[in-house]
Amino acid sequence: MHALTWPMSATSQSTLLGGDWRLLTTVGLIVAALVWGLILFAAFRWRRRDDREALPPQFRNNYPLEIAWTIVPLIIVGILFVYTYRAEAGVDAVIAHPDVTVAVHAYRWGWNFAYVGGPIVGGPSVGPVDGGAPIDAAPPPQLVLPVGETTRIELTSDDVTHGFWVPDFLFKRDAIPGMINTFDLRPDKLGTFLGRCSQFCGYDHALMTFTVRVVTPKAFAAWRNLPVPS
């Protein structure tokens, strides 16, 4: 239940996202509770106790009520939209000069991370497979990011449509062949986070994982100078 109202967030943008999520969940639950309550109350209070009882009052309209229950929801969704629009603008915003830029290529079934001016890392998410379970226990491809700094991701696909999704960042963007999707990530927590492919891409879609390791800027700089094992 914790996940529904207080999703974990590990980037500064996901704080904005989390706020929007909490607003919509709260409003949604209040509306749901109210309407469920009305339905159950009406069902219980006016249940037929005897088939011979008199006909109930045969009213068909109440124009002021009908206008009210059109206008009030209109106002509510209007407010939700404004809040949502602002949250989205914050999440999608890209700054002029990111600290790091990485070209991410998704393919069937793995991830390549090509750092501009730095190493090219990544590889297949799964080793040779048998019935869908990887035989090779190699770790999934890893994207390394510095905490507190802005990394520009330029995402594309080498074959079919994939999805770059890090659930702990509350964020995903599709990887589409022939198109580069640009977005910024600003992690504010250290750790290793799981990444999934979200857009169905065939046989090993379920196994097309990657990880995102967020380290201090010093450790990040040290990592970038390390030679990549062949």
């Binding site: 006016w46 068909r60 949502t84 989205e88 019935g131 995903k172 169905f200 891409c201 994982t209």
Partner: protein, 543 residues
């Protein structure tokens, strides 16, 4: 060929196979649609159970990934194209002429042609199973480039395209039939403002069908040209664009989900007044809301594409939020119909209550998904799976059962058993919520959709197991319905003209109705002519 006056003498009806194959009678065609779509429901339901059994535990080896992909593709395709929508078209086929006092549809032979196209189209889709590489496995949405020939190499995908194309054309022809019939063949006194809400909803649905299905047809044809005739519409290496596939698909796909719910809003609007013994509240508001939903639904399609980075998210977010308002209006109208009524909880009303409770949650999560930032987390995750099943399963499916129990007596002349119906409802309602509520949490915790397995982390294993249990509980509910059908066929209570004390014209004739429907019609002065006939003291004229 027979020239027919508006009221005709009762003719003896033949009941052999040939008479069913050559029928042009809307009632028989409706029953054919209903039976065929229920068969596809059973198949798609079995596929769902296989899927849930595979997902019961992490790392399961029950199904290989390719077979799993075929199964969920066929499950989605069958539920959407071969069950929920055609069932509604079948029910409407049976009911519309009866509800407006007409002897048949405007184009009876075209009507029958649509049914046979639907049946054969579905068979063609499933025939992919018999090919070398199996049935289509690119999802019911068949996104390019995944569905292109380089990746989906088998004939199954082509058979899927062709089968779905046939079913789509059949739906377009049916919708033309519906609108023409409602505009032209209403009985004397049956003004447009007195037709039942179900018929109004079918007019709105028909409008959606002929606006939305042609873009699907063109999308499928383009895909076929890409696959088999050397086209490159969606191939970026040749200047094509995968996003074009999505635009064309979702321009159809979103109105399609309203095609799958508006008829069932109509079913609920027919049932609640009968079991609350009150007229439907806010008739005009319900009609205007139906068309507001239909119109707005043509403008929200790219809320399925928020994460592509290729569409104007705020436009689609705004319209998607807006469409919640007319839907809410309908809910309030239904509650107001129950308000201060005299409510009896026979099986149709039980399923209607289940519809209201379930669809509400589906609607609320739908409003959440109208927010692009929320969608950045929820898209392509089990949160969306939960949402769509709450509206289609918790909503449409429950309304389907409500409609079956309500109109079964009219169609077949016998009642379905109340006790079996009640048990079936509770198994379905509890099973449904046990199966699908946990999926909201699974989605937020990071489980993507269309996956044959998942890692053994967090609460994924427990929640998946619970969901699988819910699916099996639903199975019991469905089996009870099947038993009910058998029992009622063998020794069901005879129904009579009007077993429920209902409102609209179909209850003014025998059960089942004779060929050409009516031997006489009561005067039509409101939206509930049969009620007025039975309660002359309270009858009043409406517009």
């Amino acid at each position: 060929m027979t020239a027919v006056a508006r009221t005709a003498p009762v003719a003896a009806t033949r009941n052999d196979l040939l008479s069913w194959i050559t029928t042009t009678d809307h009632k028989r065609i409706g029953i054919l649609y209903i039976c065929t779509s229920l068969c596809y429901f059973a198949i798609a339901g079995a596929l769902a159970l296989a899927i849930r059994t595979q997902l019961a535990v992490p790392g399961n080896h029950l199904l290989t990934p390719h077979v799993y992909n075929e199964l969920f593709t066929l499950h989605g395709t069958a539920m959407i194209f071969l069950f929920v929508a055609p069932f509604a078209l079948g029910l409407a086929n049976f009911l519309i002429p009866l509800q407006i006092g007409a002897p048949d549809m405007a184009f009876p032979r075209l009507n029958a042609t649509s049914y046979w196209m639907f049946l054969f189209g579905g068979i063609i889709v499933f025939s992919g199973v018999a090919t070398n590489e199996g049935a289509a496995a690119a999802g019911w949405t068949a996104y390019a480039p995944l569905s292109e020939i380089a990746v989906s190499t088998g004939l199954g995908q082509d058979l899927w395209i062709v089968g779905v194309l046939m079913v789509s054309v059949a739906s377009i022809l049916t919708s033309i039939n519906f609108v023409t019939t409602v505009f032209i063949y209403r009985a004397p006194g049956m003004t447009m403002w007195r037709i039942p809400i179900f018929t109004w909803e079918m007019v709105a649905t028909s409008l959606l069908i002929f606006m939305a299905f042609p873009p699907l047809a063109s999308d499928l044809l383009l895909l076929f040209v890409d696959r088999r005739l050397g086209g490159h519409a969606f191939d970026p290496a040749f200047g094509g664009n995968p996003i074009l596939y999505q635009h064309l698909f979702w321009f159809f796909g979103h109105p399609e989900v309203y095609v799958m719910i508006l008829p069932y809003f109509g079913v609920i609007s027919e049932i609640i007044p009968v079991f609350a013994r009150k007229p439907i509240f806010g008739y005009t508001g319900l009609v205007l809301a139906a068309f507001a939903i239909a119109g707005l639904s043509m403008g929200v399609w790219a809320h399925h594409m928020f994460t592509t980075g290729a569409v104007n998210n705020p436009f689609f977010s705004a319209v998607s939020f807006l469409i919640a308002v007319p839907t809410g209006v309908k809910f309030f109208n239904w509650i107001a119909t129950m308000w201060r009524g005299s409510i009896s909880f026979k099986t149709p009303m039980l399923f209607s209550m289940g519809f209201l409770m379930n669809f509400l949650l589906g609607g609320v999560t739908g409003v959440m998904l109208a927010s692009p930032p929320v969608d950045y987390q929820a898209h392509d995750s089990y949160f969306v799976v939960a949402h769509m099943h709450y509206v289609l399963g918790g909503g449409s499916l429950f309304a389907i059962f409500a409609g079956l129990y309500f109109w079964w007596p009219k169609m077949f002349g016998v009642m379905l058993d109340e006790r079996l119906g009640t048990w079936s409802f509770w198994f379905l309602f509890i099973g449904f919520n046990v199966a699908f509520f946990p999926m909201h949490i699974l989605g937020v915790e990071g489980m993507p959709r269309r996956v044959f397995t998942y890692p053994d982390t967090g609460s994924l294993p427990e929640l998946n197991f619970i969901a699988t249990c819910g699916a099996y509980i639903m199975l019991i509910g469905a089996i009870l319905f099947g038993i009910n059908v058998l029992v009622s066929a063998l020794r069901g209570k005879p129904a009579g003209d009007d077993p429920w004390g209902a409102n609209s014209l179909e209850w003014a004739t025998t059960s089942p109705p004779p060929e050409y429907n009516f031997t006489s019609l009561p005067p039509i002065r409101s939206e509930r002519p049969v009620w007025d006939m039975h309660h002359p003291e309270g009858a009043r004229a409406s517009r």
